[in-house]
C-alpha cells in the first residue's frame, strides 16, 4: 500500500513535467492534440495524487508506524477522525495536500473550459503544471537529498519502527482545528486558477473579460474556503483558554487574512472590468498579488520564519518557496509592464457617484487594510532589518488603523448596492438613502438611550454602520421583489425567490454583505462590552460576575483510558436575580505525556499536556464563558509520596519483564484513579481559579459567518447558465427586431 502511494507520487511528478512540456508545445504551436494531451495530463495527476493521498491516509488508519510521518503524528490511541486529519500537521503531508487540491482545481477548470479559451487555456495549463511540478518536486527532493521531512512516504528502517506513535497534540483535537488548515490551504490553492488564466491572458494579449468569466467562480470558491478557514480558526480559539486576542494570536492567521483581503478586492473589481471594460491592469495586478500572498501564507506556515528568524534555516521548504514567490512577482510584473498597451481601459468613470467608483473606493480600502495588516505582521522582520532590534506591534496599533477602514468598508457594503452603475441623480439618491439613513439614526438613538453607547464610541459607530448596511441591503431586496411583482404579478414569496435565483451573483453578494455586517456587529459588541472576572472558589462558594451569581456546586472527575487523560472539572450554577440561567461544566484535562519524566510518573502527568474544556452557554444576546484551573498545590505532597513509592517499586522490579512493566503501569493507573477520588472527596477537594467572561453578541459573529457563507454559495451555485442563455435569447430577439426595423 505504501509502495503504491510512493510510486503514484513519483509518477505524478513525471506526469506534471510532461504536462508542462505538452502544454507549452500546444500553446506555442496551436496544435490541439498537444493541448488535449496536456489536459489529460492534469486529470492523470489528479488520479495519481488521489491514490497517494488514499494510501497515506490508510497508513494513518492502520497505524503503520513504519511510515515516519505516521509515527510522528499519530498513535493507536488517537481518535479515528484525528488519525485522518493528522496528515496535514506535518511538512510532507501538507505539501501533499497542496498538490492534491491543486490537481482538483486545475482538472475542474480545464474540464469546464475544454471547449473554450483555445488560446489562453494552454498557457494557463502550463502555469498550473509548473506550480504542480514545483510542489511535487519539493516532495520528491526529500528522497533525493535524503531530508525525509518533505517526503510523505519516508519509511523508517526496520529496527527503528516504534511500537507506538507520538500521537497528535491534544490541543489540536478539536473539530474546528481538524478542518481549519485544509480550508486555508484550499483557499490558497484555488487562487492559482484565476492567476494562471490571468497569466495566459497576458501572454496571448486576450485581455477582455473572458478569462475573468471563466475563472471568477474559482476566485469565489477560494474566497469561501479562506473565509471558512479563518472563521474556524476563530471558533477554535474561542474554545481555548488564553488565545491572545485579535491580531496577537499567531502571525500565520494574519497572513491568511492577507489574500482574503486582496481576493475580496479582486472579486469586486472584476465586476467593473466585466461591465465597463475598466481596471484591467488593476485586476491582473490584484490576482498576482493575491496569489503571491497565498504562497506567502503557505511559506509562513511551513517555514516558521515569523516565530523567529532562526527557524528559517532549519526549514527545508523555506528557501524554495521564497524563490517561487520571487519568481511569481518578478515574472508577472515584467509581463504586465510589457502588456500595458493592451491593458488600457476602454472607458473612464462617468461620475464619482456611481457603482464603479464605489467599487474603486472599496478596492482602495481593502488594499489599505491589507497593507496595514502586512506591515504589522511583518514588522518584527522589518524592524530587525532596519534597526537590528526585533520589535513587535500589539493589538492597539492594529486597531488604530484597521477600525476606521473597517467602518468605511461596512458603510460601503450598504452604499454600493444603493448606487446604480455609471451615475445616480440627486433625486434618486434621496430616494435610495432615506430609509437606510433613518435606520442608522434609529439604531444610534436606541443604543445611546440604552445608556452604554457613549462610553464606547467606536462600537457605537460600528453598530450604526451595521444598521445602515442591513437596512440598505434589506431595502434593495424588498424593492427588487416589489419591482418583480409589478412586472409579473407574482405573490411576494414567488417574486422574492425568482428575483434571487435569477440574479444569483447580485443577491448572493448582498447576502454576504449582510453576513459581514452581522459579524462586525458581533466583533464590536463582544470586544467592547465584555466583562471578565477571575475568581477563586471552593465547592459551595459563590461570586458575583456582572449581573450573574456563579456558584461552585461540586467537583467532577473522570479517567479516560482511550485518550489517556484525567479530567478535573467543576459544576457551576449560574443564576441571575435568583433565577437559574444555566449549569456550566468547565474542566481541565491532563494527558499522559510522551515526555513525562519516567522517574516521576505522577508529577509528569500534571506537567505534561493539559487542555481546558471551556464551559459555555451561548445565547442570542450574550455568552457566558468559563474556564477553570484547579489549584493542585495541596496535592503536591501526595504526588511526591506516590512518585517516591514508584521509584522504589521500579528499582525492585525487572523492567525487561513485560509482566512487571504491566504491573507497574497498573499501579500507576490505580494511583491516578486515586487522585481522581481525592479530588472528588469533599474533605480534600482543592479550590480552583475560574475565569468567568460574559461576552455579549458573540453568537452574531458565527451567525454572520454562516449567512455570508450561504450568500457566497448562492452566488457561485451553477444552474443560472440555462436561464442566462434564455434571457439572452430574449434580448437577441428584441435586438434583431430593432436591427430589422432600422
Amino acid at each position: 500500500m505504501n509502495a503504491l502511494g510512493a510510486a503514484a507520487l513519483a509518477a505524478a511528478l513525471l506526469t506534471a513535467i510532461y504536462t508542462l512540456i505538452a502544454a507549452l508545445i500546444g500553446a506555442r504551436s496551436g496544435d490541439r492534440r498537444w493541448v488535449d494531451s496536456s489536459r489529460r495530463g492534469f486529470y492523470a495527476i489528479f488520479v495519481l495524487l488521489l491514490i497517494s493521498v488514499v494510501s497515506l491516509e490508510s497508513a494513518f488508519l492502520r497505524s503503520d508506524f513504519s511510515v515516519e510521518l505516521v509515527a510522528n503524528n499519530s498513535s493507536t490511541t488517537t481518535p479515528t477522525l484525528y488519525k485522518l486529519t493528522a496528515m496535514w500537521g506535518s511538512q510532507g503531508g501538507s505539501l501533499m495536500l497542496w498538490a492534491f487540491v491543486l490537481s482538483i482545481a486545475a482538472s475542474a477548470v480545464l474540464f469546464a473550459t475544454r471547449h473554450s479559451h483555445r488560446e489562453i487555456a494552454p498557457w494557463a495549463t502550463a502555469v498550473m503544471a509548473a506550480i504542480a511540478t514545483f510542489f511535487l518536486g519539493l516532495m520528491m527532493a526529500g528522497v533525493i537529498f535524503t531530508n525525509a521531512e518533505t517526503y510523505p512516504f519516508a519509511l523508517l528502517a526496520a529496527g527503528q519502527v516504534p511500537a507506538e506513535g507520538a500521537g497528535l497534540n491534544p490541543l489540536l483535537r478539536h473539530p474546528a482545528m481538524a478542518i481549519h488548515p485544509p480550508m486555508l490551504y484550499s483557499g490558497y490553492v484555488f487562487f492559482t486558477v484565476p492567476f494562471a488564466f490571468a497569466i495566459g491572458a497576458l501572454i496571448t494579449r486576450r485581455l477582455d473579460a473572458t478569462w475573468i468569466r471563466s475563472t471568477r467562480r474559482f476566485a469565489l470558491i477560494a474566497w469561501l474556503f479562506l473565509s471558512i478557514g479563518l472563521a474556524l480558526g476563530a471558533r477554535w480559539s474561542y474554545s481555548e483558554l488564553g488565545w491572545g486576542g485579535y491580531w496577537a494570536w499567531d502571525p500565520v492567521e494574519n497572513a491568511a487574512l492577507l489574500p482574503w483581503l486582496t481576493g475580496t478586492a479582486f472579486i469586486h473589481s472584476i465586476m467593473v472590468q466585466e461591465r465597463r471594460g475598466m481596471l484591467k491592469t488593476w485586476n491582473v495586478s490584484l490576482i498576482v498579488t493575491t496569489f503571491a500572498l497565498s504562497l506567502l501564507g503557505t511559506f509562513l506556515v511551513r517555514s516558521g520564519v515569523l516565530q523567529s528568524i532562526h527557524a528559517f534555516g532549519e526549514s527545508k521548504v523555506g528557501l524554495p518557496l521564497l524563490l517561487l514567490i520571487a519568481a511569481v512577482i518578478i515574472g508577472s510584473t515584467l509581463l504586465i509592464i510589457s502588456r500595458l498597451d493592451d491593458l488600457r481601459s476602454e472607458r473612464r468613470i462617468d461620475s464619482l457617484l456611481s457603482r464603479e467608483s464605489m467599487f474603486l473606493l472599496n478596492n482602495l480600502l481593502f488594499i489599505g487594510l491589507a497593507v496595514i495588516v502586512f506591515w504589522g505582521t511583518f514588522f518584527p522582520l522589518i524592524s530587525e532589518a532596519f534597526t537590528g532590534q526585533e520589535s513587535s506591534l500589539a493589538a492597539p496599533w492594529y486597531n488604530r488603523y484597521t477600525t476606521p477602514v473597517a467602518i468605511g468598508l461596512l458603510f460601503l457594503a450598504g452604499v454600493g448596492p444603493l448606487v446604480a452603475w455609471r451615475r445616480i441623480s440627486t433625486s434618486n439618491l434621496r430616494k435610495a438613502f432615506a430609509i437606510p439613513i433613518s435606520a442608522a439614526l434609529v439604531a444610534a438613538a436606541v443604543i445611546i438611550l440604552a445608556g452604554e453607547g457613549l462610553s464606547e464610541p467606536i462600537a457605537l459607530v460600528l453598530f450604526v454602520a451595521g444598521a445602515f448596511t442591513l437596512a440598505a441591503v434589506g431595502q434593495e431586496i424588498w424593492r427588487g421583489t416589489a419591482a418583480r411583482r409589478a412586472l409579473s404579478g407574482d405573490s411576494v414569496p414567488v417574486a422574492f425567490s425568482t428575483l434571487l435565483t435569477r440574479n444569483r451573483r447580485r443577491y448572493g453578494g448582498y447576502i454576504v454583505h449582510m453576513g459581514i455586517a452581522l459579524m462586525l456587529i458581533g466583533v464590536a459588541a463582544s470586544s467592547s462590552f465584555q466583562t471578565s472576572t477571575d475568581v477563586r472558589l471552593s465547592p459551595g462558594e459563590s461570586a458575583e460576575v456582572g449581573d450573574y451569581t456563579v456558584t461552585y456546586v461540586r467537583p467532577t472527575s473522570e479517567v479516560d483510558s482511550q485518550e489517556q487523560k484525567l479530567v478535573f472539572g467543576a459544576v457551576l450554577d449560574v443564576t441571575r436575580g435568583g433565577e437559574q440561567v444555566t449549569l456550566l461544566n468547565p474542566a481541565r484535562e491532563f494527558f499522559a505525556s510522551s515526555s513525562a519524566d519516567p522517574a516521576a510518573p505522577l508529577r509528569g502527568f500534571f506537567e505534561g499536556e493539559a487542555t481546558s474544556e471551556v464551559g459555555r452557554k451561548e445565547g442570542v444576546s450574550r455568552d457566558i464563558w468559563t474556564a477553570m484551573q484547579p489549584d493542585l498545590t495541596s496535592f503536591d505532597p501526595v504526588i511526591a509520596e506516590g512518585d517516591e513509592l514508584f521509584g522504589r517499586l521500579a528499582a525492585q522490579l525487572d523492567l525487561t519483564d513485560p509482566g512487571a512493566v504491566q504491573a507497574l503501569a497498573d499501579q500507576q493507573g490505580a494511583a491516578i484513579a486515586g487522585l481522581g477520588e481525592r479530588y472528588l472527596n469533599p474533605a480534600t477537594t482543592p479550590p480552583a481559579e475560574f475565569r468567568v467572561n460574559v461576552n455579549p453578541f458573540v453568537i452574531w459573529i458565527w451567525i454572520g459567518v454562516i449567512v455570508g457563507a450561504i450568500g457566497a454559495l448562492f452566488a457561485l451555485w451553477p444552474g443560472a447558465e440555462a436561464r442566462r442563455s434564455r434571457v439572452s435569447n430574449v434580448y437577441a430577439a428584441k435586438l434583431a427586431r430593432e436591427l430589422a426595423t432600422r
Binding site: S75, T77, A163, E164, A166, G167, N169, L171, L172, P181, E240, L241, G242, G244, W249, D250, V252, Q307, S308, H310, R348, L364, G368, I372, W375, G376, S383, Q389, E390, S391, S392, L393, A394, P396, W397, Y401, D534, R536, D560, S561, Q564, K565, A592, S593, S594, S595, A596, E607, G608, E609, A610, A627, Q629, L632, T633, A665, Q668, G669, I672, A673
Partner: protein, 140 residues
C-alpha cells in the same frame, strides 16, 4: 473643468493620501512597538516595557495565585524570574516557547502585564514529539 485636469487632481489627491497614510503607518509602528528581547538581553536594558520571548526553564514553574517561572533564551542560558497573573494558556509548560510583556522590577523579576502571556499556535508543536508514550491508564 477640463476632464484630464480633473483626473490629474484626483490622482494627486489619492496618491498624497496614500503617502500620508504610509508615513503615519511607519512612524507610529516604530513608536508603538515593544522591543522584542530575549531574556539575556533584558538585564542590559534599563526600565521600559518589553516583549520577552524565550523558553520556560525546566523545574521553574510554581503555580498559585501568581504564576512564577523562569524564562531563558531559546538556546538556554541564565534564566530571568517572571511573576505573572492572569490567564495561563493551555500550551504553557516547561520547555515551551512563550512571549510575555512586562518590565523588570528592582529585584530583577520580570513583572508581567495581566493576561500578556502568549504561547504559539499549537499547529507547530508536531516536531516536539519524538519519544514513545507509555500506556499509563489501563482499562478498569
Amino acid at each position: 473643468m477640463d476632464p484630464t485636469k480633473k483626473r490629474q487632481i484626483r490622482l494627486v489627491t489619492a496618491l498624497s493620501a496614500a503617502v500620508l497614510l504610509a508615513v503615519a503607518l511607519i512612524y507610529t509602528s516604530f513608536n508603538a512597538a515593544n522591543d522584542a528581547l530575549e531574556p539575556s538581553q533584558l538585564t542590559a536594558r534599563a526600565d521600559g516595557t518589553y516583549d520577552v520571548t524565550g523558553k520556560v526553564a525546566s523545574d521553574s514553574v510554581e503555580r498559585g495565585e501568581t504564576l512564577r517561572f523562569e524564562i531563558t533564551d531559546r538556546d538556554g542560558g541564565e534564566g530571568v524570574p517572571v511573576a505573572y497573573q492572569g490567564i495561563v494558556p493551555d500550551p504553557f509548560r516547561e520547555g515551551r516557547e512563550v512571549i510575555i510583556t512586562g518590565a523588570l522590577n528592582e529585584q530583577g523579576v520580570l513583572v508581567a502585564e495581566k493576561d500578556s502571556l502568549i504561547t504559539k499556535c499549537p499547529s507547530k508543536f508536531a516536531e516536539e514529539h519524538g519519544d514513545d508514550p507509555n500506556v499509563i491508564i489501563e482499562d478498569a
